[in-house]
């Protein structure tokens, strides 16, 4: 996992003071160090641990070998064969979550004008996962990524973005809320695969 919010123990050894407002703790050690907690007012909310996540990347839809090695993507045998044949798998019927269990979620990467494939820089699982993107540069063919069957009633989404160069204006939105991000790319090497 890349961001892994709430499930990595804090390495901070100092104390924590709450003097006003609410400090909500969502994971063991996620927001607190190992030191004492001082309540000088306010509210300490021990609201329980929210666990469970899954993710997918465009890179795995281009390189089936990475899908298998990663163990997070669980296409059926027929889908794997189709991916092998096309070297471009754009739909997954059932993602597995971070515990290895089926999530019942399907996913479709659609409308790419290009899939640009960056060479992994350090060869780590995370850099390999990030080595490619669904290109946004055609105004008449916006890329879309659709999740169906999400098992969580409430959730956050972390969308990883990249480019072959820095300082390129991009935008990203979703169909659930009004949040639209306008951002500038920050990435390095690239190679281009024209669809």
């Amino acid at each position: 996992m890349l961001v892994n919010p709430g499930s990595v123990a804090s390495t901070y050894t100092g104390g924590t003071t709450v003097s006003a407002g609410t400090l909500a703790i969502t994971g063991n050690g996620a927001a607190l160090g190992t030191g004492a907690v001082m309540l000088s007012g306010g509210r300490l909310q021990l609201q329980g641990i929210a666990s469970g996540s899954y993710r997918d990347s465009i890179h795995r839809h281009r390189h089936v070998a990475d899908q298998r090695a990663d163990g997070r993507c669980s296409p059926s045998g027929d889908e794997q064969l189709e991916c092998e044949r096309k070297r471009d798998c754009r739909a997954i019927a059932n993602l597995v979550n971070n515990s290895g269990a089926s999530s019942g979620t399907s996913l479709i990467w659609a409308r790419p004008q290009y899939v640009r494939n960056r060479v992994p820089q350090a060869g780590t699982p995370n850099t390999t996962l990030m080595s490619g993107y669904l290109d946004s540069s055609n105004a008449n063919n916006r890329p879309q990524v659709t999740f169906n069957g999400i098992p969580y009633s409430q959730y956050n989404a972390y969308v990883y973005v990249g480019s072959g160069a820095n300082n390129r204006a991009q935008t990203l939105l979703n169909n659930q809320n009004s949040t639209t991000y306008h951002y500038s790319t920050f990435a390095n090497t690239s190679s281009v695969i024209h669809r």
């Binding site: 919010p5 300490l44 666990s51 879309q144 409430q154 989404a157 990435a187």
Partner: protein, 115 residues
């Protein structure tokens, strides 16, 4: 324009808003309401990966830290029906005045605070 980004976070998503589905759409230029303000030649860029993270508590929290209370304060377990505090709890302040620690919670209320 936000600073250079490696990932973007969409908080507060839920299945009530649009069934149990969500669609992310990328773009650049005027088609999605922004100006084509690229400073590096073109709009090439896009989505590399997406991670969906559950935010609904599904297990109790265990807090091992020592806790000192020196002013009126609240410990709340809203979100899950129990939590455990296994560290030492110290109540009091240097002035000797009264202070109050309030325990609150939704659902079955607070429980299992065992200092």
């Amino acid at each position: 324009m936000a600073p250079n980004a490696n990932y973007l976070v969409f908080n507060g998503l839920n299945n009530a808003a649009n069934g149990n589905s969500i669609i992310f759409t990328g773009g650049f230029g005027s088609g999605l309401g922004i100006n084509n303000s690229n400073t590096n030649g073109n709009g090439n860029g896009g989505i590399s990966a997406i991670e969906i993270v559950n935010t609904v508590p599904n297990a109790p929290l265990v807090m091992t830290n020592a806790v000192t209370v020196n002013a009126n304060s609240t410990i709340d377990v809203t979100g899950w029906n129990s939590a455990t505090m296994s560290g030492a709890l110290t109540l009091g302040n240097s002035s000797g005045g009264a202070i109050q620690l309030t325990a609150t919670g939704a659902g079955t209320g607070w429980a299992a605070a065992t200092p």
